[in-house]
């Protein structure tokens, strides 16, 4: 089985995963992980709860995760790799040092509210000025969250008080800033205990700024923008592999495995496209083969001839697309119609049935990064897929599955910590054992990002097939065993 857990135990950068007992990581990670706490896990959780039971002025003495390498970056794709930086960020877990742990639980609650924010209603797109385009993703995410809530309520809801969980749903309508108002409403008016969301990179950033000040957990299951987590906010978690991880794998595949040297990019002219290709651009340049040409297109457009003609004239070996599935499929169709037979690579948003339907035969051989393997043999995943189909009448996609996992993590944290936002944060941030979701094991980095294994998806016989790095024997650069600032010292000492 290609699980994230197998990868996890090999990561030199995340050995200090455990909040309370770092030395127990290897043994715990090697065995099959479940969400049912075993004796050791339960003991750690009980100890954690004891430690975080403090007065408003006390900061609990939690052991902080210490990563030796940011995001499992190979040495040769690190920025300014020939220079020792003055400061390297995101290697040590942030603390929450405020008084929130002492806030007493409220009485007389009828439900335990959890917030959801996502693009679920049609509105105006900032990118195009026309109709928004992320509702399908947001509704899929909402369904996953709903299913997790319903299942929790079927098994007793919030057991301490025998009351149900309630999902408080907000629309993230895509206009910049709107998500901030929605988070304010969720935090102060609805008084939810934690929030799941959202997908759009800009809205996600706005939401977490509010969450920081309002001191409430934001779990993200749909925004793969690497900078989302690079903000140093101790209230923010992400349970999906990001564009950095997927880009690292794609770059390794393109340059180390296939030995391309001339690649061009076509991307959406929105924030998703702009930030999504950053690691591709950087990785290509750092490996000695800068992207030859990067062309942006208007999101929602149907004619890409301007961009494609320029790419065609650039003597490229392959083309990478970063944008939505519809545009991705239309582009590959137009490429083939123009006689451009370049191998076509794309981002995870293109891994969809919609892409296959629009691209038809042109989809064959397309390869995309993907944050998980939905075809792996896993009992929990199969049950989830079956129940989801029964409940909603459609197949769960990546947004549904990650939404389900993110909401399940929040429910677990609330059940474990009780009705205190700071303690909910603590148990998520310091749980010794990584959450085992339907998308795989979710090991969090020091900056609380999902460092689980990511995959490549390839269209074969009209179907998406998923491959790990090992499956395709994709080489990887050396991952240094220590942080960059102390690396030089170690070299000087002859280590």
């Amino acid at each position: 089985m290609k699980s994230k857990g197998l990868m996890f135990c090999m990561l030199p950068g995340v050995l200090v995963w455990f909040g309370l007992n770092p030395t127990t990581l290897p043994a715990a990670a090697e065995e099959e992980t479940t969400n049912e706490p075993d004796r050791a896990d339960q003991a750690d959780i009980e100890k954690l709860l004891e430690v975080i039971d403090v007065d408003p002025y006390e900061v609990p003495p939690l052991v902080l995760r210490r990563d030796h390498n940011y995001a499992r970056s190979a040495v040769d794709v690190e920025p300014f790799r020939h220079v020792t930086p003055f400061r390297e960020h995101f290697l040590e877990q942030l603390e929450y040092t405020g008084p929130g742990r002492a806030i007493p639980e409220p009485r007389d609650l009828k439900t335990v509210k959890i917030g959801f924010i996502g693009p679920i209603m049609s509105t105006v797109s900032v990118a195009t000025g026309g109709k928004s385009h992320e509702e399908a993703l947001g509704i899929a995410m909402l369904r996953g969250a709903q299913l997790a809530i319903e299942q929790a309520n079927e098994t007793g809801g919030y057991p301490e008080r025998a009351i149900p969980f309630e999902l408080v749903i907000s629309n993230d309508n895509g206009l910049w800033g709107a998500s901030g108002n929605e988070i304010i409403k969720l935090a102060y008016k609805d008084k939810v205990w934690a929030i799941l969301g959202t997908i759009d990179g800009a809205n996600s950033h706005i939401a977490i700024r509010v969450a920081l000040k309002a001191e409430i957990v934001m779990m993200n299951s749909g925004d793969t923008d690497p900078t989302f987590i690079e903000t140093n906010i101790p209230w923010v978690f992400r349970c999906i592999g990001d564009d950095r991880q997927m880009s690292y794998l794609l770059v390794d595949y393109l340059y180390r495995k296939l030995n391309y040297t001339r690649i061009g990019i076509i991307r959406g002219s929105n924030r998703y496209g702009r930030f999504g290709v950053r690691e591709i651009l950087d990785g290509a340049r750092r490996l000695g083969h800068p992207i030859i040409l990067e062309m942006a297109y208007q999101v929602g457009g149907e004619d890409f001839s301007l961009q494609l003609e320029r790419l065609q004239a650039s003597n490229l070996e392959a083309i990478v697309h970063w944008g939505n599935a519809v545009e991705g499929a239309l582009i590959v169709n137009q490429m083939r119609a123009m006689g451009m037979n370049h191998p076509y690579y794309a981002c995870d948003r293109c891994v969809s049935n919609e892409f296959l339907a629009i691209a038809g035969d042109n989809a064959e051989g397309v390869v995309c990064g993907y944050p998980w393997n939905p075809k792996r043999q896993d009992e929990d995943l199969e049950v989830f897929q079956k129940v989801f189909r029964q409940r909603f009448g459609v197949e769960p996609d990546t947004y549904s599955a990650h939404g389900y996992d993110g909401m399940s993590m929040l429910i677990w944290a609330i059940k474990t910590a009780g009705l205190n936002r700071a303690k909910i944060r603590d148990v998520l941030a310091h749980r010794a054992r990584p959450h085992k979701g339907v998308t795989g094991v979710i090991p969090l980095s020091a900056c609380l990002d999902d460092l689980g294994e990511v995959f490549l998806a390839r269209v074969e016989d009209g179907q998406w097939k998923f491959y790990s790095r090992q499956d395709l024997d994709i080489p990887q650069g050396t991952i240094a065993p220590r942080d960059r600032v102390s690396r030089k010292t170690a070299e000087a000492s002859g280590e």
């Binding site: 408003p56 220079v83 930086p85 003055f86 008084p99 800033g177 706005i206």
Partner: protein, 412 residues
Amino acid sequence: MNPITCRLGGVMVLLTAFLVGPWTVVRESIAVAPSEPNSPQKTGDRAGAASPAPDLPGMPYVYTKWKQYTTKDGLPNDHIFAVKVDGDRVWVGTEDGLACLDKRTSKIQTWGEEQGLPWRAVGAIDVHPKTGDVWLGLFGGGLARFSGGRFDHWHQLNSGLVNDVVYGVCVENDNIWAATTAGASRYNPVTGEWSIFTEKNAPMEEIWNYGCCYADGLVYLGVWGSGVLEYNIERGTWKDYLDPDGEMEIDLYRDDGIVHVITTGVSYVEKTLWVTTYFGASRYDGRHWRGYFAHESGLPSDFNNAVIGRSANEAWFSTDKGLGVLADFPTDTWVTYTTDHTTHKGKAVVQQGTDVLMVIDTPPNLPHNYVLWVDFDGDDAWVGTSKGLGHAIGRGYYPGLRRPKDALGKNN
């Protein structure tokens, strides 16, 4: 005369006051005992007992006399987002209401939504020097003016305010600037004109404004993800300050620009710009940058919520682990304030760079070590924390370092 405990080469030695002078800076940890026995944390107008600040040449001024205010003293909420001193009044923005502390009587008046405050969370405050109007940035509720006992309210649906989540507010001439989560708005209450600044008309790679300040014809915006923007009022032009390495996960060189683009606070005073981020802090004098990180300075933490400059050489940094005061820029001399609430003792650490010069025990100083805001009040300072308001009393305050000829008996 208080005994001074001095650690020299790891050995604790009891010194007596006759050791005062001729002074050289002692580069060891010195603990000055408080002048009164330890007392429980005090609140309200009952000041914590003060221990004398070390009146030593080469030493910065240390605030040893503090008062704390909490809900027990009449604040509507202990989570203090903003503080603004206005003559005898101290305006306090909290997570659940506005307060005004009368310094003469120590009485606190409060306003919540039931008293007309448009929204409960007050995230920023400024006072118009001409009119005395109090301008409030409401965290999720827009912009409000408190004048003549009445609240006026501007929000996304009735004005040119670009977003209701307002993080910063500042007065510039007749204009009021609001730093919001989706751009900056400028409002002229005289003409009723609104201006909006976003990525459409300003160099905002991201539009998530956090802080703003005005001085000398320049408005500075701290923009989360977009560094610092400088707006020249006379020219109507923008200038941006970004982290030159362009990378989120590293700061390549400390002194090449702002240390990170996730900017949280700006303060411009005496032609010097102070900047905070969640990754450290920076100072810029128009020619040279200087970066500050916790591991090599008196910053209690790299997680900085805000900064306010007192001069080109002094700035106060609000962090999640205490209050860091760069007391003298030329010598890199810091005073770091924290309170240990389990022992009811405060602590002020004086250091130059990483060299600790003195550790001074004080009565409780900060109401909580999670500091969110500071405003100056002459020689005093008011400190907003996540669990109350602190008043640092600066009797005998002096800027920079004590000069040798000023020592002995002239402090306090």
